[in-house]
Amino acid sequence: MCPLLHGLVAFVAFGSIAGAQPGVRLGLIYGEGGARPGIHVLPVAGASGDSIRAIVMRDLDFGDRVTVLSKNIALPSPVGAAAVDYRVAARLGINGVVQIAPVAGGVSMALYDVGAKQVLQRAIVPLPAATNTAAWRLAVHGASDLCEEWISGTRGIAATRLSFVADGRIWLVDSDGANALAITQAGRALSPAFRPDGQAVAYVSLEAGGSAIRVADLRGASRQVLEPRGLNISPTFAPDGASIAYAHGEDFGTDLYVVAASGGTPRRISIGRGTDNTSPSFSPDGRRIAFTSGRSGQPDVYIADQDGTNADLLAALSSSSQGYRSSPDWSPDGRAVAFQSQLAGRFQVMVISLRDRVVTQLTADASNEDPAWAPDSRHLVVSSTRSGVRQLWVLDTETGRARQVTGMSGARLAAWSTRVGS
């Protein structure tokens, strides 16, 4: 997207929300000739200073919108009243400097524009007193996300969590791979889906006589929404968080249904006529669903109205596709759908733009499945075998960069939460 337009939007937003502080210029930080801005994070004082600096640098790097310069760069201490030695910084290729310092109850954070030779933004970020806990890390991630918004105009996604399946259980993990925690007991659980408020996860429990859908409140207990009568799989929350769409089958044919999250009488929302229909994903306005269907003989991805009418193939078949396509995920900004497509015997992750129906292939190495969008509609988490073991990897759809998130003995079927605590 055009940086000038970004800047204009950010300028208007910051001007109306932040309230200009004296001496603070509103705008964004740009790199040379359209390149990403080079950002230097100054060393942070205090007992947890090194941790804070490492987390913020890693978060900005994982955001793929800035180039984080080496921590081995040593900016000389500023001379006189200036907070930063702008001349040396400019010579070192630094476009923005981040200064974080401990204060009572948290940290102060400032962003300096090297080109303009002055401070761009300032804020106090509260942090929990107990350092290096999960809550403390989440708060530091929040500081990183705010800083990224100051620099690029887009809020970061560091303060988010992933949920996934490993070892028959549902897990939660921070977006940087820290604090992995199982939220179900031993058993056979599948298909986690975050509630839009990020405070609960719906999932499938496979039991001897059938499959049940349960909701685990992240601050409390787990609750059964649908009993294990027949097949009940692939739950997803509707955008309003009040109902859950899922697939249900009792004999021949599996159809999509929606039920109130508190339980109740399900309503059918696909017209399968005895075919298999699974894996629903809502558009952000809740009016349409993407889903996997075998109605044409082989599984493929369809889009329909949320009552099952007007079902259409999502993407035209290409000559290279073997025809097995599944597992759609609608982007939070409504503009694209990610899905997996079978090519040369393995699955690859594809993204289709809904505006022009152009399909982009995002992966080519090994097998890649189950794409799920991050809240920024730019990053995707996928389940990939590229390291030899099925693990979660985050892909940046703009630069193609891939980073591994999990290291346990196999992880798949990931979901990405909204920004926590925002």
């Binding site: 599948l190 496979l206 697939a247 599984p299 597992s327 499945e369």
Partner: protein
């Protein structure tokens, strides 16, 4: 007087000698099933018309023979019960991405039909499974279709639907691990679990 006693003794002696030479009841060379065992008792009863002393020893011989064939029959019925159970629990395999019953599947299912018809109390649960290729979620639907397909084959041939539960595990409970077609084909299956009514399975006639 003494001549009559001697004569009676000689008659009794000749009778007993004759009884000794009387043929034994032939022993069956093959194990008998429980259904033929009761036939031995009437044969013993009908020979009770002979002399008392002769029939008691014969009765003893026949009893021991009956006990021996009974235990052979009991062993046979245990063996038969084991193979009846095995036939009920035998799994059905499927082709890739398909849920129709193959020729091999038909043979496995046909072997279950007479056992189910003879033992009306038996209830089973069929679980459908897939290999690990394909979408994890869609494979759960395919597994259900395979279980439903196996159940329909049986219900089309007279087995009541409410005697058969179906469930799917998709690719989540593979029979064997591996990424080759050998492992894949073993995992594409419908498994049969006996839920109840199989404590004393009767052999179909």
């Amino acid at each position: 007087m003494r001549r009559d006693i001697v004569l009676a003794g000689l008659v009794m002696l000749s009778l007993s000698l004759g009884a000794c030479r009387r043929k034994q009841v032939p022993v069956a060379a093959v194990p008998m099933t429980p259904s033929t065992a009761p036939a031995i008792a009437p044969a013993v009863a009908s020979s009770a018309g002979g002399g008392l002393a002769v029939d008691r020893s014969q009765f003893l011989r026949d009893s021991m023979e009956r006990a021996r064939t009974d235990s052979l029959a009991r062993l046979a019925s245990t063996g038969a019960a084991v193979s009846l159970r095995a036939a009920l629990e035998a799994a059905v395999r499927f082709d890739y991405d398909a849920a129709d019953i193959t020729d091999d599947g038909r043979a496995v299912l046909d072997a279950k039909l007479p056992i189910l018809r003879t033992n009306m109390a038996v209830r089973v649960r069929i679980s459908g499974h897939t290999d690990s290729r394909g979408s994890d979620e869609y494979n759960l639907a395919l597994g259900l279709r395979r279980a439903a397909s196996a159940r329909k084959y049986l219900s089309d041939r007279g087995i009541a639907v409410d005697r058969i539960d179906i469930v799917s595990f998709g690719e989540e409970r593979p029979a064997t691990s591996g990424d080759d077609e050998g492992a894949f084909s073993q995992n594409r299956r419908a498994e049969f679990e006996i839920l109840s009514g199989a404590d004393a399975l009767r052999t179909p006639r």
